[in-house]
Symmetry: C2
Subunit: 279 residues, 2 copies
């Protein structure tokens, strides 16, 4: 079979920005779906996604015979999309970086559709929009699914295979556990990078090297999007920030007191932990 | 002239690790010196530098006819090297990331040799050793010289041209101004990345993406080296850390109080400043 039949015939991507556009590109590269439909309210982004071949078609509605829906809107807009699409009984997932508040919003409304599989690919960029889309964005990245007991098993498997088709590894966490985890691994770093940039003036930029660029890259991310994310995960982010402030206080005290035993131990533990990552 | 004569005949690099090795590679690529001599007390590093062609020869002493000496030891060892080599009256420079304490140590001793041009290339890597050396490490990077009134003008020009030969842009600052600047653009980011890693456990690493990797990369840098740097620039680093802690407190308060006006303004200012950098 030189040309294998794609596993799915018709899939829909709601929001064809960085993440949605990358999903389209990845699915196309993997021949995952015969037909990829994009829904996009921003006409310029819609046109761009079409021209870049991230989707085959732009539509304003989800066709009844679609087999999978990717909701790639910002986190705070996911719940209303899920509610609007629930009656179609088509497997669907989101890509939001905060999970429990979405589920709580749905529970406070008409309940969580069993066809909705909350998911979050731990991949991104400080860039945004369809022109930043990348078929390899999810390759090797971990995608976390946070299904509920009520989640339909077939929908869950469909969503898992959709992520695996992008080259992503798939794992599962409880929604709250996901949010606590990401508060430390993503939301706090963004917060710290943004806060650090408060004290950087244009003159400083002239004396910045590669380390500075790496450390501050995430501070270039969309401010409106990130204010929403930090607010949605407020409690966990504030806990993580409090823990950071305590460690900062402890380390600066060691530095102030020339306490090499404490200070160097902290630096060594940090470097050793960081060196557990490949790059 | 297809084979131009190198501007210098004999140069010496003391310490052929990442920085010294990269200088050797860059000077070789630029045909800056006919003969590059390395001085290196670590036999494995010496052998590696030789095999990689970063230097032409390993020696234990600086020959009297050398025309330039690059002191590429860690910052806290620079002053004693400068003192030991001052009587040769050969132009020399260091590469330490803290400048005023080196000059103060020299002033407290026998004075600062007019042939010593304090310098700092704002380039580096979390990697170290000759095998991390890179002929392009300084290309496009800024190198700051912090000469004194007593610095010999010919030595200053020699050192400037040595950095320009590596593709570096050269600028000048007063030693204290350099240390205050770098406290913000380099020392504080390292401190923050190290401190952040204190609250990261192995489980977190499984849920880390590209943003996390970028943000924490500098925490993989050598702990002993960085404890020394932070101590040498203690006052400026503590000032910068205090300013950071105040901004952190202000931002987390805004988040806690759902104060979108303050919070979003901070994120926007940060992103706007970061976007002034190219990447």
């Amino acid at each position: 079979m030189p040309n294998k039949t794609p596993p799915l015939n018709k899939v829909v991507i709601v929001g064809v920005g960085l993440i949605g556009g990358s999903l389209g590109a990845a699915w196309r590269a993997a021949s995952f779906a015969a037909h990829i439909i994009g829904i996009e309210t921003n006409p310029a982004a819609a046109e761009q996604a079409l021209q870049l071949g991230l989707v085959d078609e732009i539509s304003t509605t989800v066709p009844a015979d679609a087999e999978l829906i990717a909701i790639c809107t910002p986190s705070h807009l996911v719940a209303e999309q899920v509610e609007a699409l629930a009656s179609l009984q088509i497997p669907m997932f989101d890509v939001g970086s905060v999970k429990a508040p979405i589920i709580e919003t749905l529970l406070a409304g008409g309940g969580v559709s069993p066809f909705f599989v909350p998911s979050h690919p731990i991949a991104g960029s400080d860039r945004s929009g369809p022109d930043a889309a990348d078929a390899d964005l999810f390759a090797g990245a971990t995608t976390v699914l946070t299904p509920l007991v009520s989640t339909d098993n077939k929908a869950l498997q469909q969503v898992e295979s959709a992520w695996r088709a992008c080259g992503s590894e798939v794992t599962r966490l409880a929604p709250k556990a996901h949010d606590e985890m990401l508060a430390v691994t993503s939301h706090l770093p963004h917060l710290l990078a943004y806060v650090f940039m408060q004290q950087v003036d244009p003159e400083h930029l002239k004396y910045s090297g590669g380390g500075f660029r790496d450390f501050t890259r995430i501070a270039a991310a969309n401010p409106e999007l990130w204010w929403r994310i930090l607010c949605m995960n407020r409690e966990q982010v504030l806990d993580a920030a409090e823990q950071f402030a305590a460690h900062l206080q402890s380390f600066t005290s060691a530095l102030e007191n020339n306490d090499e035993v404490t200070g160097l131990a902290a630096l060594r533990a940090a470097a050793s932990r960081r060196n557990q990552l490949d790059d």
